[in-house]
Amino acid sequence: MNPHSLVSIDDLSKDKIMQLLDRAKFFEEHPNHRFLAGKVVGTLFFEPSTRTRLSFETAVNRLGGRIIGFSDPSATSTSKGESLKDTIKMVSNYVDLIIMRHYLEGAARYATEVTDVPVINAGDGANQHPSQTMLDLYSIYKTQGKLTDLTITLVGDLKYGRTVHSLIMAMKYFNPTFRFVACNELRMPKEYLDFCDSQGIKYTEHTDFSAEVIDSSDIIYMTRVQRERFTDLMEYERVKDLYTLHNAMLDNSRDNLRILHPLPRVNEINVDVDDNPKAYYFEQARNGLFMRQSLICEALQIDPQSDFAE
């Protein structure tokens, strides 16, 4: 067990979050420095995820580290029935850091228990994806200049959306006001409403993606509404276009409003929004690179800011 592993956003204190954001900003200004020279990083993708893998591997490359690993588990002995424990133990002999994605929930937590090498969870099933949450926080921080006292509207699939659940957990330190906009079938689960209540987080629930909601938001976080999430396909047909953002809907929105989306999008943000300066989802993905550089240094206990100053 390595104490610097990152499995869940819950593992991070408020101070640690602020430190990681500050470091991401440093990497945005200094993306190419060889803090990982001589280090080998294992990227183990037991489930393919090109987007996340490219972001992490670019982060390692820009830091001057080397990468081993796999992006398709069918090419590994996992497909021959090797246990996760054995794979992790084998790879631990070769690398300084493991970045892993797995289709099973809890896989990353278990991996940390069988190795002394730090592990960064790059997504475990529907459970946790802390680097996504951290890049969301960085995007909010960067565009708003702060994390405190913001009104954040979450739209679309709030029932199964892992990213929106983690964002709620992470924002508990920053006195947010949430708007939850979803159809009945995909509304925010009770356990997260209970969490908000227990933390004193203010929220309102809406089935209408109305002008009133849009015009009072600092951040609108859009998510994909997927057909396969619906037990009632009639309901899907009825609601599928109700939670699509069009450029005209932003006419009276706040100047500081920014639109976020974890990507890939399908049709929940119309392409006519893309040229609006309030559209931020492509920069958001780019922020992922700097945040992942920050997280990698944390896992390896490298302090780039002080090393850089020397």
């Binding site: 246990s83 996760l84 424990k85 797995h102 289709y103 099973l104 929930e105 809890g106 896989a107 937590r109 278990y110 475990d124 099933g125 529907a126 459970n127 356990e191």
Partner: protein, 153 residues
């Protein structure tokens, strides 16, 4: 002590442990949790006995063995009002309620089929998040379950 004598008299025990006040529908889960099947000591299991508190209750009597308290406490998950009686020379020398530990290891199966614990040869582990309601959460995938509904391995 009169009621104790009446219920414990089914098969008087000289030395050992009596676990009383187990809900009738949870008795066999307790037997499973305590892993009593392989025990070579005299063992008496009674069920659907009359109880003023529970309506129908179960009872487990184990001769000549003192099962460690942390082990017995595991049954608090399904039998929160169970009472442990320590018997010496036919007398109850100690009597205490079971107490749910902070962590439940290796006895409950996670209800989430996509949980790593259901796909890897490993022990399950649950953190007790609400002892009063006996709510436990999988340490790995985060899925919660309450005591009486727990699927015992």
């Amino acid at each position: 002590m009169a009621s104790d004598k009446k219920s414990l008299a089914v098969a008087a025990l000289e030395n050992g442990t009596v676990i009383d006040h187990i809900p009738a529908d949870q008795l066999f889960k307790c037997v499973k949790i305590l892993d009593l099947e392989g025990l070579d000591k005299q063992l008496t299991i009674g069920n659907n006995l009359r109880s003023d508190k529970l309506g129908a209750k179960g009872i487990i009597k184990i001769a000549d063995v003192t099962i460690p308290e942390p082990v017995i406490n595991r049954i608090a998950l399904v039998a929160p009002n169970a009472v442990i009686n320590l018997i010496r020379n036919y007398e109850v020398v100690d009597k205490r309620p079971v107490k749910l530990p902070d962590m439940v290891v290796g006895i409950v199966r996670c209800a989430n089929p996509k949980c790593i614990t259901n796909n890897e040869p490993m022990k399950t582990r649950f953190d007790v998040i609400d002892a009063e309601r006996r709510e436990i959460r999988c340490h790995y995938c985060g899925v919660t379950v309450t005591g009486a509904k727990a699927d015992i391995i």
